[in-house]
């Protein structure tokens, strides 16, 4: 397996107090997440806004320091900082190699591109940082190759981001992140800002690139329909914890956790008859704050089936309920036993 998070926690301190400022609590953005991603596959991470999915992605990218827990990449702890690496007995120079291997792509391509930099230069920037293009010709050649790879005309490399459509800009952003030759990409809502037709094309491109280059993706999105198109495994996150995880086909066909069921039931179906006949699962829209997480099962105040005192008192653990499918719920029966 390529990447593994072990009991990862990311807390943000909250300061307050009447006279003296002191720490009064934590926002538990990520509260003990354990997950594994196999090489060459896509893990779809879904959840509502504020559930901590972006924080998890940022922590993997090294943009956020974990409070506790470890991330392993190819079996070794994932630490970027040279000093930190030294402390942990790792080769300090390897940190930059990891930066090259793990790249990202964000939601809004127009904000991640410099409007005053031609797209060719934007793509080449990664090569310069990692000193990959030795000569000018080599650099140029690589830029042309990358632009072709993402389906853009290499002759357009002298043009500026404003001359491109949103979909094309996202292609430029992807080419830019592919420049240093990554193995692992954290894709944070890469298609949410795009039209449906363009969405489909970018997803196709991502799948295509995965096959050609053997990439591994962590695909973060709030849109279950989009995740279904690309993910091999799906992890559902709620208030900093995973509540369900399993092969994509199983999650969509037979979801177990009531939260996953509610999320799936809320996705609009483009079929007026089926949409009107569909049974509605109502969950309250109020998401508890991650500063003040409910006791017991953190989903119980919104859960349509939580009735037992067990739900309010004891936190369920994420365990295998059916073959390959994990859920954190007291009320989901274990299929094997």
């Amino acid at each position: 397996m390529l990447l593994k998070c072990e009991n990862l926690k990311v807390y943000f301190p909250v300061y307050g107090g009447k006279i003296f400022t002191r720490k009064i609590g934590d926002v538990k953005a990520v509260d003990g997440v354990t997950l594994e991603i196999e090489k060459g596959t896509t893990l779809g991470l879904v959840g509502e806004s504020g559930c901590g999915k972006t924080t998890l992605g940022k922590t993997i990218l090294g943009l956020q320091r974990p409070t506790s827990g470890t991330i392993y990449y190819e079996g070794k702890p994932l630490i970027y900082d040279a000093h930190e690496r030294k402390k942990n007995g790792l080769d300090p120079k390897e940190g930059k190699v990891l930066r090259r291997k793990i790249q990202t792509a964000f939601q809004d391509p127009s904000r991640s591109l410099n409007p005053r930099m031609s797209i060719g230069d934007a793509v080449a920037e990664g090569l310069d940082i990692h000193k990959l293009g030795a000569t000018r010709e080599e650099r140029e050649e690589r830029v042309v190759e990358l632009l072709r790879l993402v389906g853009l005309d290499p002759d357009a490399r002298k043009r500026f981001p404003s001359e491109f459509s949103a979909g094309q800009r996202q292609r430029v952003a992807i080419a830019r992140h592919l420049a240093p030759g990554p193995e692992f990409l954290v894709l944070d809502e890469p298609v949410s800002a795009l039209d449906v037709s363009v969405q489909g094309k970018i997803l196709e491109l991502l799948k295509d690139l995965q096959q050609k280059l053997g990439l591994t993706y962590l695909f973060i999105s709030h849109d279950l329909a989009v995740v279904k198109k690309i993910a091999n495994t799906v992890a559902v996150m709620y208030l900093g914890k995973l509540v369900e995880e399993g092969p994509a086909a199983k999650i969509y066909e037979s979801p177990m956790h009531p939260y996953t069921k509610a999320l799936l039931a809320a996705v609009p179906i483009p079929d007026p008859r089926r949409a009107r006949e569909r049974q509605d699962i109502q969950i309250s829209e109020e998401i508890p704050s991650s500063e003040n997480i409910p006791s017991g099962c953190r989903f119980h105040p919104r859960c349509p089936i939580a009735e037992t005192p067990l739900c309010q008192e004891q936190e369920p653990i994420l365990e295998e309920k059916a073959e390959g499918q994990l859920a954190a719920c007291h009320l989901v029966k274990n299929n094997e036993s």
């Binding site: 449906v196 037709s197 709030h222 849109d223 329909a225 609009p268 179906i269 007026p272 009107r276």
Partner: protein, 261 residues
């Protein structure tokens, strides 16, 4: 007679002295009473421009070149600005994608609702606050007494959008145009908000125009659909007809592209 009739509407943007570009190229549709009409199309198809021309809020350098917009028989294009002000907001209202930018950031949501109440009718006897809290409660906002004094930044996007819809309850317009009202929100909240909007249609007998790029939402909530592409209506009809037997290739293309669960 339909409540709102748009006939052959052409809207153009002036690029420079000689050139102008047609944004809407002859749009014709009508809206009946108590109807939920969906307008779908990709970005740049002219859905929002159609809505803005109805409201008489077209941006600078964009003009209605020809066509009519008839609202209960009155042509809104030739109407005087003073007449438009009586219609805009009171008879035809609009809510936008981003509620945060429609609300005043330095005024509590309760006061904003109160302000609007007072522009319609002066307050007699100071019962307004209670009424507003009742509306907030009806919109499903928890702890409405406290939320009355909250500022927009203290509320989530979904709650702000519900405040906007709550304002519509005060205004009681004949037509409500909702331009991508839930695009920035989570699916669970999206569903709740649209259900609330539809309840309004039933309760107040208003007509709702739902502008969206999401065909799934149209299928779930609309009675009739207008499909737009490049400033033109390519297909219009009953929701079942459009989804089950689309006749235009563009509609079919849109339907094929929708990611399905």
């Amino acid at each position: 007679m339909s409540l709102l009739e748009i006939k052959d509407l052409v809207v153009s943007a002036i690029k420079n002295k000689e050139e102008k570009v047609d944004i809407l190229k002859g749009v014709t549709f009508s809206l009946e009473k108590r109807e939920v009409l969906g307008i779908v199309g990709e970005s740049g198809s002219g859905k929002t421009m159609t809505a803005l021309s109805i409201m008489g809020l077209l941006p600078e350098r964009v003009y209605v070149t020809s066509g009519n917009i008839l609202f209960s028989g009155q042509d809104l294009i030739t109407a005087k600005e003073s007449d438009m002000q009586k219609i805009r907001g009171k008879k035809i209202s609009m809510i936008f994608q981003d509620p945060q930018s429609s609300l005043n950031p330095v005024m509590s949501v309760g006061n904003q609702m109160l302000e609007m109440f007072n522009t319609l009718l002066p307050d007699f006897g100071g019962k307004r606050k209670k009424q507003i809290i009742e509306i907030l409660r009806k919109m499903g906002i928890p702890d409405p007494e406290r939320r009355y004094n909250s500022f927009p930044h203290e509320l989530s996007g979904g709650m702000n959008q519900r405040v906007m819809i709550g304002m519509m309850l005060i205004k009681k317009p004949k037509i409500l145009i909702a331009d991508e009202p839930t695009t920035a929100l989570d699916v669970t909240i999206e569903k709740r908000i649209l259900t609330r909007l539809k309840e309004l249609v039933g309760e107040l007998g208003i007509s709702l125009v739902l502008i969206t790029h999401n065909l799934g939402l149209v299928a779930e909530h609309c009675d009739r659909v207008v499909v737009m592409n490049e400033g033109q209506i390519v297909e219009a009809g009953d929701v079942f007809q459009i989804f089950e037997a689309p006749s235009h290739p563009y509609t079919r293309k849109l339907l094929d592209e929708v990611p399905k669960i």
